[in-house]
């Protein structure tokens, strides 16, 4: 991974070479896109997070204000961030979110890996059909799929009805509005993001590597542990990031399926924005979440890519 400064220097260097105009246009599109839709909103959120909250539209004070006598007034406050530490609710929500996301990711790795493995080892004519089945749920709106989950999970929903009909239970188990429902919802929704990169890694693997391992005396499970698993780790890492990152900030699933018992940071953020109309605190929650997540995730990615790909 190159640092942005280095990439920028490389871009500047290339501008002095022949054909620079075309290259500049080609580069301007991705960089412009990132600046407009990624950097700019981020800066706005950052700005709001250090602004003072007021009643009004917009519900925060501008940082730079022209006061009387042509004086410039600067309102900068870190009280929003201080509040996050002072009020136990935020810390609990953060920890809870990371915990739920981590456990969901772990379970997704186990389920997703077995699904990806089964697809990668199935006959070619089945493979694309099975992959399609993984992708098809995306054709329905995420929100509708989560609502549909309620039909499965509620007290007289499909799961409870089937279990009672089979005589496994007499009383419906409470799944809805519990952390279990949130886990089920997150794993269900994000599983394809785990399956696809692992499948890609497994499918790329040369099957003769396994034969070589067998030939050298490795039983099938040993060959899996020593050859298949390490070679598919880049897929596992990519899938884990794709599940973990959005799961931490997940709002819809805990809102619709979860109870009040285990608040997630996405829900807190929503409440600050829309219920309390405290945009600065909501922004601070978002910025803190970003800071808390980006650093370890980048380090993890760096480590993983160096370990598995970097040579």
């Amino acid at each position: 991974m190159r640092s942005p400064a280095k990439s920028f220097a490389a871009v500047v260097r290339r501008l002095h070479q022949p054909g620079a105009a075309g290259r500049l246009t080609a580069l301007a599109i991705p960089y412009g896109w990132l600046a407009l839709f990624f950097l700019l909103p981020l800066l706005i959120v950052l700005k709001i997070s250090v602004s003072e909250s007021v009643m009004g539209i917009p519900p925060y004070l501008p940082i730079v204000q022209l006061a009387e006598k042509a004086q410039v007034q600067i309102h900068l406050t870190f009280s929003n961030f201080a509040l996050l530490l002072r009020d136990n609710m935020y810390v609990v929500a953060y920890i809870n979110s990371v915990k739920i996301a981590a456990i969901s990711t772990l379970i997704s790795v186990v389920i997703g890996y077995s699904m990806a493995y089964a697809i990668a080892r199935s006959p070619l004519r089945w493979r694309y059909l099975l992959l399609m089945l993984i992708i098809i749920p995306f054709w329905t709106s995420f929100l509708i799929r989560i609502y549909a989950m309620i039909g499965f999970l509620k007290d007289n929903g499909l799961i409870n009805n089937v279990l009672m009909a089979l005589g496994v239970i007499d009383q419906p188990i409470a799944i809805m509005y519990t952390p279990t429902a949130v886990y089920i919802g997150i794993i269900y929704s994000y599983l394809p993001f785990m399956v696809l990169p692992i499948y890609a890694a497994l499918e790329r693997m040369d099957p003769s590597l396994l034969e070589a391992a067998n030939d050298l005396g490795a039983r099938p499970w040993k060959a899996f542990l020593r050859v298949t698993l390490p070679l598919s780790m880049p897929g596992v890492v990519a899938g884990s990031l794709l599940v973990f990152i959005p799961a931490v900030g997940e709002f819809v699933i805990p809102e619709l399926l979860g109870g009040l018992g285990s608040p997630m940071i996405g829900k807190v953020l929503w409440a600050e924005f829309f219920s309390n109309r405290d945009w600065p605190v909501a922004s601070a929650v978002a910025v803190a979440m970003l800071a808390l997540l980006v650093v370890p995730v980048m380090m993890f990615d760096r480590f993983a890519s160096r370990y598995f790909r970097g040579r």
Binding site: E211, A212, G217, R311
Partner: protein, 380 residues
């Protein structure tokens, strides 16, 4: 030519009492309706360097994979060292294979790749280190032990694959086109090295190749395969000099084939009238065919003598023709001569002098002949 024959002076395959190390009994392998291997019987003896030779799709690789245990025979049996291999999975066979793609583990260093097999056996760590070092030394890549496969050249990877296949000291080593990915110079050099290593270790090697020169150079015996079946098994010189079919004659080296009908058979000679040649052919063997039989006679290009046009006609094994093509190969030149029948005959001449004494050129008329013992009669 066959450097590999040096290791086995006693030629165990000529001794009916010798116990074969690998026995392939009536083995067939079907993929759907297609027989990749069709009723193959083979005996391979301890210490042999045995080559399975054939064009792509002839079943040689499938046969090798059945020896390794990656494919199960549809019919027939395979015995290695007297043990029926039917229910023995690859990881329990006394066999190691060098893969055509080398199949090196990309996430492991050279040393780890070579050590892998020993780790599976539960060999002690210190001994693994010793044996890996010894093996890397043998294939001359000791300095590369800490590199990953993608930091190696093709030739170096080939050596790692070889070291990995040899480190467990298997009794049987299978090599699937081991030199296929190397350039010509490196390949020739490696051929001799492989034979030396094999003789040093005393293991039995079975190599699959489509390159007849490679097979001839290295092998104690060559098995020529065609369409899933064995055409001929024999020492390289035997297969080259005495092919038993048109296919083998044509596949191994270059062959001039003249079709004709047997006109006279005696105990030591056969006379054949060949319209291809435009005259009679006499071969120095007899008895095997009846008068009137339709046969082919094969003559190797280097066994044909060339004379100036107008030289006396010996009355058999001779004709005149016009030089149509000349291929200069450096050490020899190959001449294509067209006969009156339209048949083209190839012969070679060594380029002994910088200016040949009687240089042949395009459209020259020449007479050629060969000795009756140099023609091989093939019954169609």
């Amino acid at each position: 030519m066959a450097v590999g024959s040096g290791g086995l002076q006693d030629k165990p395959w000529t001794d009916p009492k010798a116990e074969p190390f690998v026995r392939v009994l009536g083995v067939s392998k079907y993929f759907g309706d297609i027989a990749a291997v069709n009723g193959v019987d083979l005996n391979i003896y301890r210490g042999e360097f045995f080559a399975l030779l054939g064009a792509s799709g002839c079943g040689k690789t499938t046969l090798l994979r059945m020896l390794a245990g990656f494919e199960t025979p549809s019919a027939g049996k395979i015995f290695i060292d007297g043990v029926d291999m039917a229910d023995i999975p690859p990881y329990r066979r006394p066999v190691n294979m060098m893969f055509q793609s080398y199949a090196l583990f990309p996430h492991m260093t050279v040393g780890q790749n070579v050590a892998f097999g020993l780790q599976q056996e539960g060999v002690a760590k210190a001994e693994i280190a010793d044996r890996v070092a010894e093996m890397l030394d043998l294939v001359q890549i000791k300095a590369l032990a800490r590199r990953k496969p993608d930091q190696l050249s093709g030739g170096q990877r080939q050596r790692v694959a070889l070291a990995r296949a040899l480190v467990k000291r298997p009794k049987l080593v299978l090599l699937d086109e081991p030199l296929g990915a190397l350039d010509r110079k490196l390949r020739e050099q490696t051929q001799f090295e492989l034979v030396n290593i094999q003789e040093k270790l005393g293991a039995t090697f079975v190599i699959v190749t489509h390159d007849q020169e490679e097979a001839m150079t290295m092998a104690t015996r060559v098995c020529v395969m065609n369409a899933g079946m064995v055409e001929q098994v024999g020492a390289p010189a035997e297969v080259y000099e005495y092919p038993n079919s048109r296919f083998v004659a044509d596949f191994i080296g270059t062959a001039n084939l003249f079709d004709g009908l047997v006109t006279e058979v005696s105990s030591d000679q056969t006379r054949i009238a060949s319209p291809d040649l435009g005259g009679d052919i006499v071969v120095g063997s007899g008895g095997a065919v009846a008068k009137g039989a339709s046969v082919s006679v094969m003559v190797r290009p280097e066994k044909i003598q060339v004379m100036p046009s107008g030289s006396p006609d010996p009355g058999f094994n001779s004709a005149e023709g016009i030089v149509r093509e000349i291929a200069y190969l450096g050490d020899v030149s190959v001449y294509h001569v067209e006969l009156i029948s339209g048949k083209r005959v190839q012969f070679t001449r060594a380029n002994l002098l910088h200016t040949a004494d009687a240089p042949l050129t395009w459209d020259d008329r020449v007479r050629f002949q060969w000795h009756p013992d140099n023609g091989i009669m093939l019954v169609q």
